[in-house]
Symmetry: C2
């Protein structure tokens, strides 16, 4: 362990003082693509214009009503992303979060494949690998579902604990961001995926919410994580009803105007389609076709990701460099160096709240303390989620220096 020298402390104090005086406005709070990333998707808008061919591969005019489950070629594309047949895919609107919300909402009011609606039960519980995604937790909180923390390790969530907890029939689901996890950036190991695929919960209406939000979001062309296909693994043991898979192009095409997809087994999908049909005639198929005409297939999508990572990688590297330089060896302080996804997860045990508050005073906005935990309660007051994509390199360097200075002052 390294101790903070007086010089380091004074220098950190000066950094904070300077930031406070110069009224910087820097934001590392939300996983928001930068302007430069978004610009790369602009040519997509050229694919469907006045005079274009608006027929999908089955001859349907994408501008008119119909096709509840989405157009065939878009289901194929998102099937490739999720590693399933297009027959197991539904395409929705612009938000996979909304798809997950709706699945939980309908489970509350109508149950899952014939089970008792969850709103009729005394207690519904959910497993939450932590740290995790704040918006996942907000959905559960909204529906009054009790959240149980499950610690993450370098291979994924603690599977021993999960296998034990699902013996409780009131446990109905678990959140997973299996690749480049939000925020820790790790990818579940093959062993973890296999154990998920074989889960045998007491509740037959238990579902794994496999939010593969960063399925193709590699930061490197060479160093990429590989996630085992849970659907294939579940099929092998006849357990494919246990998982809903989600993905979107929000961080590939346009954050506000991408497409979201759900993949599931045939029995799950047939219930979902029946329920969907009550609420809508279908989602925006022009946007679906636009995506396919632009990306063509998974390879096209991956080529686009490479271009995105050329912009993103230097930002991750910069933050890591500043952390290495300023924080190495500080007692208990550690951070992730992910191969993909959108976040760096920083731990400052016992000090997260104070550090975030110090940064706020200096004009640097970070994700609120506790956000990566259910009920905003980080038991160790340790985790800070860093989103390096939106600021430019200069702003990011400044923000990272302020953050490190805040940590040094706090730990002095």
């Amino acid at each position: 362990m390294k101790s903070i020298s007086e010089q380091e402390y004074l220098s950190a104090l000066a950094v904070l003082e300077h930031a406070k005086k110069s009224q910087v406005h820097l934001n590392m709070a939300r996983g928001k693509p930068s302007q430069a990333q978004i610009e790369l998707a602009n040519p997509m808008l050229e694919t469907l214009r006045d005079g274009s061919d608006f027929l999908d591969s089955d001859g349907n005019d994408v501008r008119n009503y119909g096709l509840l489950e989405g157009i065939s070629e878009c289901r194929e594309l998102m099937g490739q992303v999720l590693g399933v047949s297009k027959d197991n895919v539904i395409i929705y609107g612009n938000s996979s979060l909304h798809v997950m919300y709706e699945q939980i909402s309908r489970s509350m009011t109508h149950g899952v494949l014939g089970s008792v609606p969850w709103s009729k039960l005394d207690k519904v519980k959910w497993l939450c690998p932590v740290p995790g995604y704040d918006r996942h937790f907000s959905i559960l909180e909204f529906f009054g579902i009790e959240m149980i923390n499950v610690p993450m390790n370098e291979f994924g969530p603690d599977m021993d604990l999960i296998e034990e907890l699902i013996q409780d029939e009131s446990v109905k689901g678990i959140w997973c961001v299996p690749q480049y996890s939000n925020p820790t950036g790790i990818t579940y190991s093959n062993e973890v995926v296999r154990r998920f695929a074989r889960l045998d919960p007491k509740a037959k209406d238990f579902r794994i919410y496999w939010d593969n939000a960063y399925a193709v979001h590699h930061l490197h062309r060479d160093k990429q994580d590989h996630l085992l296909n849970i659907f294939d693994e579940a099929l092998k043991v006849g357990n494919e009803d246990i998982v809903y898979m989600f993905a979107s192009t929000s961080k590939v095409s346009f954050p506000g105007a991408g497409i979201a997809a759900l993949a599931a087994s045939t029995p799950n999908l047939s219930q979902i389609k029946k329920q969907m049909g009550v609420s809508t005639i279908g989602y925006d198929k022009i946007n679906q076709l636009r995506h396919v005409r632009f990306f063509h297939d998974l390879d096209g999508l991956k080529r686009h990701i490479h271009r995105l990572s050329d912009i993103m990688l230097p930002k991750f590297e910069l933050v890591e460099r500043v952390f290495d330089e300023r924080l190495s060896g500080l007692d208990g302080v550690c951070w992730t160096k992910p191969n993909g996804g959108y976040f760096i997860s920083l731990n400052v045990p016992g000090k997260a709240k104070q550090v975030i508050e110090r940064c706020r005073e200096c004009g640097v906005v970070l994700t609120p303390a506790g956000a990566t935990y259910p009920y905003h309660r980080d038991p160790d007051n340790a985790n800070i989620r860093i989103a390096p994509t939106y600021p430019d390199l200069k702003e990011l360097a400044e923000a990272a220096e302020v953050l490190c200075a805040a940590i040094i002052v706090e730990m002095h």
Copy 2:
């Protein structure tokens, strides 16, 4: 009353026989815009292209995350459509049906402005002006809400009956399509709107679902219905929390890729936005800006409607001409001649089911019998909803002749 001559009967039989032999495939079932209508919106796709300015009037990049309630200028546009300030408007995705579904779903799980969640009540009831829109009824059926028929007359729903029924605290809402009603085509009278605005239901969580689906959907440039503004009327008596208003551009721009809006009072909106924020970061703002750049304002929207009605009006007139010629004077048979909207409502007392079945045998698909009533139960087996927009004039003439022939044969 006219009696059907033997010659008319034989000629009708021949029409059916010929249709059956020639294997026509005609569809007057769904309110679907025609190809020609949709083409008119194509230039909208030219408004946002690679190299366009993507900033909304507040300087937000519409391609990125954010702006839960939609972009300012689009709220303004849809506010004009609904006759309210933009501050009372939220813009959603492509389906107003989905917005209504979600309002009811959230009322089930969370109540309305602090009321008991409806799913916790023994009984929830809803008033359904009949004939009405089948998809409205499907939502209620999905949530197990008991539907009570309220007859429509030429001024709107029977207000005496409504004022009586809302003394029951378990009555929580009513569907209204107040202008060019689906399917009867009538527009609520000023008196009816005023009585709606002053409703004083026992249930404080009772809401009028004012689905102004055809707010600007006139068929004529001169002969247009005028709907009194319920929100203004409700404001006058401090009752503005009672109504949610809905509209969309599905039948103005693209049926699968329009924009939907909800308007409501400030207390209603603040609950709704809080709930929305749990399920999504926001809807497709590129498409919102596209709509504003194309239509500009309400006048632009109206000019577009005129061009649409040039295509639609001849179809309505054709069907009405065939009905006049074939069905005039037949006992109890009557139909509407709406000034706007999407439907002609035809009544053939005691025979709707049989007529629809005869048509089906001849390759002419109509909306299923009973569809315009809750639980698909038309007590008089009378109502047939005709959607004349999708087929071309030749097909439409053929379909109308088959339909009239089926009626004549059935009534002979």
